[in-house]
């Protein structure tokens, strides 16, 4: 039987760089030019199958627009990046300022997230290369200095999208993450001595504690 691994992936980046579009392309292979902003989903999931047959399932957390109007660059909702195994930090290659924002997010992740987090820097909108403000050299150099994965993508054409998620999947540990990390809900409380409110609600007589 081939292995099944599950990881939590968070998306960060300035407003309108195409975070949600990137996910929509990856998860549903769709693109909508007029998507306004993030729509309602707690998180999306998509599975990548590696060459050795290992299935890596991503639980993808979009910011749901919560960071859209932020003035400061600190991560205001620790819940969002907590236990994240990987982060995709997105900038828009036609907006130099969006790379600056991305750098801030990465600094915050390095400061506050789990030290083992895999961070990928992703220059989106590569289909708009004619209006490029961020050179590949500049972004790549920064990524190398910080030890990040880096690529350019186009959520519109699909270029590079699957590749970056597959590359992340390959870089993640191939052993199942401990129960307290990643795969937050799928692992379920059974694996971690917690209490399951949903189960209890359905079962008024109550279970004994599983500690």
């Amino acid at each position: 039987m081939s292995k099944q691994l599950q990881y939590k992936l968070v998306l960060l980046g300035e407003s309108a760089v195409g975070k949600s579009s990137l996910v929509l392309r990856f998860v549903k292979d769709q693109f909508d030019d007029y998507r306004e902003s993030t729509i309602g989903a707690a998180f999306l999931t998509q599975t990548v199958t590696l060459d050795d047959g290992t299935a890596v399932k991503f639980e993808i957390w979009d910011t749901a627009g919560q960071e859209r109007y932020k003035v400061s660059t600190s991560l205001s909702a620790p819940m969002y990046y907590r236990n994240a195994n990987c982060a995709v930090v997105v900038y828009d290659i036609t907006q130099a300022a969006s790379l600056e924002k991305a750098r801030n997010w990465i600094r915050e992740l390095q400061r506050q997230a789990d030290p083992s987090i895999v961070i990928a820097l992703c220059g989106n909108k590569s289909d708009l290369a004619a209006r490029r403000q961020v050179t590949q050299e500049e972004a790549q150099k920064y990524a190398e200095e910080e030890g990040l994965m880096w690529t350019e993508t186009s959520a519109k054409t699909g270029e590079g999208v699957t590749d970056i998620f597959t590359a992340i999947a390959k870089k993640l540990p191939t052993t199942a993450p401990p129960a307290t990390r990643g795969g937050v809900r799928a692992a379920g409380p059974a694996g971690r001595a917690g209490v399951d409110l949903n189960k209890q609600a359905a079962n008024a007589s109550g279970d004994s504690c599983n500690c």
Binding site: V27, K28, T38, I39, G40, A41, A42, F43, L44, T45, T63, A64, G65, Q66, E67, R68, Y69, K70, V71, S72, S74, S76, A77, P78, M79, Y80, R82, Q112, V184, R185, P189, R192, A193, G194, V195, L197, N198, Q200, A201, G206, D207, S208, C209, C211
Partner: protein
């Protein structure tokens, strides 16, 4: 932000976040603002840096306390009572998707100078050191009476009318001693003072049933607690709101509540921008509480709560090294009008480094020397490594908001759990929407 919304919500405390989450799920267009750059307002959990910045100004956290990000120290000491209304909201809105819970390991009561486990049913009552042999028999009969009560079956009433008779009458019927009444009324019904005794027995009965049914759910105590601290709760509801289209602006100063000539709400001004909405909801700090910077004062102080956040390097003596606990010191035991509460959590709940314990001692202030008032609680803790004390006024709105569309929530009170927070949510909802809050099962837009 120069847009028009259905509702603007000010402050990201738990009360406000539940409201914005529920309003967003209803399809309302919500703008949620907070002057801070973090979620949670007065119900936030702070990391070490934030904690020391709040209480110690420039003084940095001592390095021996460990890593900053291992800490999530609650500002308000509360637990979730397992069978309570907050649990229902958590389940119905499915914000449980974002949260994990653990039990609080024990519930204790202070009596005659030492602490004992609170018995929660007739079996435990029989074993409890809190009562003598004959009192145990009487307590057993009392618990059997409560457990057997059926409204529709007069045979179970034993001559008691829960609505007409006072709790005093019930205690007297079973001949319970004052010390037993103390732990029943304070450690199980969780009353902060003795006013309940002369009132109708029904609410006390319901509170004891809530306690015992919560206790029965997970076994160790009636309480559960979210991993990473209470600050996770507002974050989870804020995410619910955002997922349903709510707009979030943190780190956003609120400079003015704009009203028309009749005093009715028009919008909220931040710098030169004005966001407009049909109504505004928010915590007291945005409506003149404390300082004059909120413009018109629309809240009034009802009392004060003192809370001492204590960092310990050992478990609480007498709790069998419990990783978490509640200890209640009934007012009669220490000659007060209001109980003293101690809430303890530790690294088991991912709120501090290993071998560190966070205990919050709190009570309603009765004198002008509040720190002296919590001394009996502090004495139970053993050596205290660090102590952060706040005295917080409890604010309540001066009007129901229906006339001016300004709906204000209440400060977090001194009770040990969130039931009064949910009551406030239900009350504000009724005032804003005009009908009672009905929880609908959330249709999950999630794509699998």
């Amino acid at each position: 932000m120069d847009e028009e919304y259905d509702y603007i919500v000010l402050g990201t405390g738990l009360t406000e976040c539940i409201l914005s989450g529920l309003l967003s799920v209803e399809g309302k267009k919500v703008l949620h603002m907070d002057r801070n750059d973090y979620y949670g307002g007065d119900s936030a959990s702070l990391n070490l840096t934030q904690l020391y910045r709040k209480f110690r100004g420039d003084q940095a956290a001592p390095s021996e306390l460990g890593r900053d990000r291992d800490y999530a120290v609650d500002l308000v000491p509360k637990f979730i009572i397992a069978s309570g209304e907050l649990t229902k909201i958590l389940v119905h809105t499915k914000v449980t998707d974002y949260l994990e819970f653990k039990q609080i390991a024990g519930s204790y009561v202070f009596r005659d100078g030492k602490i004992s486990k609170v018995p929660s049913n007739e079996m435990e009552a029989v074993r409890s050191p809190l009562m003598g042999l004959f009192e145990k028999r009487r307590a057993k009969k009392f618990f059997e009476f409560l457990q057997g009560w059926k409204d529709e079956d007069p045979a179970t009433h034993q001559g008691i009318n829960l609505d007409r008779d006072s709790m005093k009458t019930v205690y007297e019927k079973f001949g319970l001693e004052p010390g037993t009444q103390d732990f029943i009324g304070h450690a199980m019904a969780l009353y902060l003072d003795d006013d309940y005794i002369t009132k109708s027995a029904r609410p006390t009965y319901e509170r004891i049933v809530l306690y015992t049914s919560s206790m029965a759910r997970y076994g160790k105590s009636p309480y559960i607690y979210p991993l990473y601290g209470l600050g996770e709760l507002p974050q989870a509801f804020a995410r619910l709101s955002a997922v349903y289209g709510g707009t979030y602006m943190l780190d956003k100063p609120v400079d003015e509540i704009v009203t028309d000539a009749d005093g009715k709400f028009v919008g909220v001004r931040s710098g030169p921008e004005v966001a407009k909405a049909k109504a505004v909801l928010g915590d007291p700090s945005y409506f003149g509480a404390g300082s004059g910077d909120g413009g018109k004062v629309r809240v009034v102080e009802e009392g004060k709560v003192i809370r001492a956040i204590c960092v310990l390097k050992h478990p609480i003596p007498g709790t069998e090294d419990a990783d978490s606990a509640q200890i209640i010191i009934p007012q009669n035991q220490v000659g007060r009008k209001n109980d003293i509460y101690i809430a303890i959590v530790s690294s088991t709940h991912n709120v501090c480094a290993k071998d560190v314990y966070i205990a919050i001692v709190s009570t309603i202030v009765e004198t002008d020397r509040p720190e002296m008032e919590i001394a009996p609680g502090l004495q139970l803790l053993g050596q205290i490594y660090e102590k952060f004390v706040t005295v917080s006024p409890l604010y309540t709105p001066t009007s129901d908001g229906k006339a001016d569309n300004i709906f204000i929530t209440r400060s977090y009170d001194a009770t040990s759990h969130f039931e009064t927070v949910v009551e406030d949510v239900q009350d504000v909802w009724q005032r804003v929407i005009g009908s009672p809050l009905v929880l609908k099962k959330r249709e999950d837009p999630e794509v699998q």
